[in-house]
Amino acid sequence: MSNLLFLLLAGYLSGLFFPCCFPNRPRIQNLLAHGFAGLASGAGIVLGTTGLLSPEAWTVSAQTTVPFLSFAIRLDSLASFFVLTISLAGLATSVFAMGYVTKFYGRVSLGALGSLFNGFLLSMTLVILADNGFFFLIVWELMSLLSYFLVVTEHEKADVRYAGLFYFIMTHIGTAFIIVTFLVFFQAGGSFAFEAFRHPEHPLPEGMRTLAFLMALIGFGTKAGIVPLHVWLPYAHPAAPSHISALMSGVMIKTAVYALMRIYFDFLGGQFPWWWGFIILVIGAASALLGVMYALMEHDLKSLLAYHSVENIGIILLGIGAGMIFQSYGLTELAALALLAGLYHTINHAMFKALLFLGAGSLLYATHTRNMEEYGGLLRRMPWTGAFFLIGAVSISALPPTNGFVSEWLVFQSLFLSFHIPDIFLKLMLPLAAAVLALTGALALACFAKAFGISFLALPRSTHARHAEEVPVSMRMGMTVLAVICAALGLGPIVVVPLLDRVVAPLAGVAIEGKVLAMDGWALAPVNVEFSSLSTPVLALLLVVLTMLGLGCAVAFGGRVNTRRYKTWGCGINLTPRMEYTATGFVQPIKRVFSALYQPTVKLETEFLKESRYFAKRRHFEFHIEPIFQKYLYDPLITFFTTMADRLKVIQAGSLHLYLTYIFVTLIALLLLAV
């Protein structure tokens, strides 16, 4: 264990240090940075797997002279799972980055980009491993700062700077709430060690527990991108270079999921009233639905993917929220099932979202644009990227037999099992959450049919797309890794569920492996095979066999027929890309049906020919949707703070004497207070 940890630290630190030794040698810097990152994340994969398989938590710590701070590391099953997730994504992105960053040669310092990449991966891993509140906060802040620097890689663009600033402010508001959470625990335990958080000297009173719950929810929720704290995410994640976006959307937001589970189930011991779980459930449902709704309206491929992260965090929280509700009613087995579903979706989302972001990065690399309306016909020009993106799209749309389907199926099952709860309100609310999840899933399908269909199919819509070429081998390799993992996670619940059970068992207090797997592990069957069952390997086999049957039918009934290729009927004139359905057109019915949410404003200007109003010379069409949260929540807040700051300006006259008086008065006041 310590060897692996050493290898991991050494790898990332070398990747952090050595690229800076070769200024202006981008090729060497690239190789060093991403080579070391790949090595270190390889060590991370082994470390995570070993940690998952070992029954005991493994700890190591180094004391410091700073009070309350110790570099304590603890690798239990929950941490191992997240280390494994981060390292898998890290490995794939490192391989991908080797090819991808070549486009930055000469524009951006590769030393900085490579070092920051390593530092970012290292800080995320340490967030998971930290066993001391102080240490956690340091690496958490490091993670936020490094990701901020990565977001503003292309800082010459104004919108990137805006995205960076927005992220910077939001993440620090989040950190403030996290500090409050930890201070609540510190006040009870007298130490920043997580062990003291777990078993404080004086048990936390009810009010303090609730405070910790809410503060952690806001603090970590900001990072996770839950509604309504998600507003920064669709700006910041797409602004970063694509391999960084993959890490931010795929795994960085998962560190917040980790922290929430750590606090609620570990520090607070899984003892909470039902309404905590209900709040998480409602937030999960809202995030899932609103995330996908806003994603549908996006035509910037990377922003679309970023909004889907909000959606998927929502799905994960549906699992965790249901788990908390079950836990509060003492239904530990169901709680374990719901948590398992949430964690399964966590690793699934990390993999397919990273895959999709790498795919979007490949499109950006090949076409130099993120606007979907300028893509088209790319499947024939970039067959590999297209195939990988399709795998990602099918997985995120939760279609059988992919991994996304398995975890969403498990979430559905845990929501359906709500009839065991002895409360009629919750009995109705959990199935309603399932209905929301069904709507979310269907809209996600529509959204990815749009994303794939408009980008990869039909005719190219711009010269960029017409001249696109397949991306270099290393980028394809990076995507292959993730595509293979996605397939394995979909077809192999027989391996994944026992591993996840090791993570969940200490949290819920009961192991359920035997209750989730049936038929020698070939089928998932919560709680028994009579109630429900699913076997993705069998479904996959059936799909393959029946496809063969379809081919057989075609041959048996039709014999050998030569296919004729001819151009699409364009109503008498040649088909051009301008006749194709656009992404905007595709979602128009959805926009209209949900116009109450979107509040769309459409501007149509037509310039007619002088001779007749029957002939339009030029048309200009524009549509916007109302950013409700920004308009009704954030803008008033910002206005409030700026007016407050304006008023407070009066006492800051800039005179040194005045300030000295303030200090004196404060001192006197404090002394009086002390007496």
Partner: protein, 316 residues
């Protein structure tokens, strides 16, 4: 094992054989209502055979998605069909997936059909795809809730178990109102999912109205044959689902040959009755405007929710 394989093969064969018949039956009913004689009931078989032999024309703008889609749609619909009890409640494949898997297997086919609609680059295909996306999205919540209401009454989400228990009246709540609500909701969902009037009209190629036909407009030859067959299969699967979940009587609950024989006969009668009722509905109602479809699906959702509420109120 051998018995399971025989059952799988039988069920596949029955589904494949019955589905063109249902399509023909509905067309015949509609023709008679319109005072036409109509084509023979067996006409769809001849159509399929003819289409398989025809030379397919494929657009030069398309990719491999266009050619793969008919096979994927055919396979996913048939896989879904194997999860649904038809003439026997001992569905051998029921362990492979419950009713949620069924919903998502249909979604798999829909996903690829939407892609294929976009692939040829014509505006008709895109129009069909775009409309299919919204209709499919709005049916899903109603479908999920009605399924849940049924699952609650039988204490299972496995179709085989639901049907088996209902057929033997084991552990079924005696009051039928949750069942009736769920039935109405699922029937509306079935009309929407299989592209029937009042949601879509399978008999039209008018660009103002078509949804499913718009998506598959560019298909010809064997590819069209597979798509048409799959559409018939989807209809058959939905009718089997409704028939057996809400009226499982007569279905074979054992593997005895006599019970199987009776089950098969009863099954064909049941889905034929449902097909006739769909034909009648198609004649009695006009197709709804696309943006009124939301209201219909909203009604289905509310019905399913009421079914759920009734179940809990009756229980407590």
């Amino acid at each position: 094992m051998l018995q399971a394989i025989i059952l799988i093969v039988t069920q596949t064969a029955i589904l494949l054989a019955v589905s063109p018949l249902l399509v023909g039956l509905i067309r015949k009913v509609k023709a008679r209502f319109q005072l036409r004689r109509g084509a023979p009931v067996l006409q769809p078989y001849a159509d399929l055979a003819k289409l398989f032999r025809k030379q397919p024309v494929i657009s030069t703008t398309t990719s491999w998605i266009f050619i793969a889609t008919p096979y994927i749609v055919f396979a996913s619909t048939l896989t879904a069909g194997l999860l649904v009890p038809t003439f026997t409640s001992q569905t051998p494949m029921s362990f492979a997936g419950n009713i949620i898997a069924l919903v998502y297997l249909f979604a798999l086919g829909t996903f690829f059909l939407i892609l294929a609609g976009l692939d040829a680059g014509s505006a008709f295909g895109g129009m069909g795809s775009s409309r299919e996306a919204i209709v499919a999205s709005l049916t899903e919540p109603a479908m999920m809730l009605s399924i849940f209401a049924i699952a609650l009454t039988a204490g299972s989400t496995n179709l085989s178990t639901v049907v088996h228990k209902t057929a033997l009246l084991e552990g079924i709540v005696t009051d039928p109102s949750p069942h009736l609500m769920a039935f109405a909701a699922l029937f509306i969902v079935a009309l929407a999912e299989t592209g029937r009037v009042p949601v879509d009209n399978p008999a039209t190629h008018l660009e103002l109205t078509m949804i499913h036909e718009g998506m598959v407009l560019e298909y010809s030859g064997r590819y069209l044959a597979l798509i048409e067959w799959a559409a018939g299969l989807k209809l058959t699967v939905f009718l089997s689902l409704i028939a057996n979940v809400f009226a499982p009587w007569g279905i074979a609950t054992t593997v005895a040959p006599a019970a199987m024989g009776i089950g098969l006969a009863v099954y064909v009668v049941k889905i034929a009755v449902l097909a006739v009722s769909i034909g009648v509905i198609e004649c009695m109602f006009a197709k709804l405007r696309l943006f009124r479809v939301t209201d219909l699906l909203g009604v289905a959702f509310i019905l399913a929710l009421l079914g759920l509420l009734f179940f809990y109120i009756l229980r407590s």
